[in-house]
């Protein structure tokens, strides 16, 4: 069991964590709909309906996990889907961070997650870089 987990997880731990986190957040919104009223969702919830945020999170989270599992088998589509998932993640985390800054602009103490969302953006962009390197399409 352990070698199997290591085979899939070890090299792409960040991507796994982010993908599972996205699905987890999607489930959290289903169970506790008021989560979207939090500071991280302030700007997104103003533009998009709650359901679309939920679908976005679960869809991209699931897609990323599928791509991570398939990555070794499909050296063309796996990395591409991983890169697209990383783009979705980076955009989402940036929107969360911006929302927190928006909420904190009047001097309110920003939530602790602010710095985490910020570094996650760079982690996602680096994941896209790694995924591009794994692409074996010859392009």
């Amino acid at each position: 069991m352990t070698p199997l987990i290591r085979h899939y997880v070890e090299a792409r731990l960040f991507e796994w964590v982010m993908a599972i986190g996205m699905i987890g957040l999607g489930i959290e919104i289903i169970i506790f709909p008021d989560v979207v009223r939090g500071p991280s969702f302030m700007l997104l919830a103003a533009i998009f309906p709650k359901l679309s945020i939920d679908i976005f999170l679960i869809f991209f989270g699931g897609l990323r996990i599928a791509a991570l599992i398939a990555n070794g088998r499909s050296t063309v589509y796996g990395p591409r889907v991983r890169a697209i998932g990383a783009l979705a993640g980076a955009t989402l985390w940036a929107q969360f961070d911006l929302s927190i800054i928006y909420v904190a602009r009047d001097g309110t103490a920003p939530p602790a997650a602010m710095s985490f969302w910020f570094v996650f953006i760079f982690g996602e962009l680096y994941s896209a870089y790694r995924a591009a390197g794994d692409d074996r399409s010859g392009a």
Partner: protein, 97 residues
């Protein structure tokens, strides 16, 4: 009409769009760099991390060590053969005298 539409936009909404576009641009650049930096053997180690060249140097040192060991083995065998030849010659000389 365009002015009215722009005025109705909150500065943060514009900033949101600018950051989203910026992320897409950086992502595109990272994808380009990732494709360019990838090695034919499948390793996506970034060139700028210097890990690749250091790894190559370590591998070269390891190969040099292996070659050195192989040379030593060959020289030891050659020494043994030469000793054998010298022994034979000595015995022949003793037989002649």
């Amino acid at each position: 009409m365009i002015e009215a539409a722009l005025k109705s936009l909150d500065p943060f909404t514009l900033l949101q769009a600018v950051i989203a576009v910026l992320i897409v641009l950086v992502w595109s650049w990272m994808m380009f760099r990732g494709s360019r930096d990838k090695k034919p053997n499948g390793s996506a180690t970034p060139v700028w991390s210097l890990y690749g060249p250091v790894h190559d140097v370590l591998r070269a040192i390891h190969e040099m060590n292996e070659e050195g060991r192989e040379t030593n083995r060959i020289l030891s065998r050659a020494e043994a053969i030469l000793k054998e030849i010298m022994k034979d010659q000595r015995e022949q000389r003793e037989l002649q005298t």
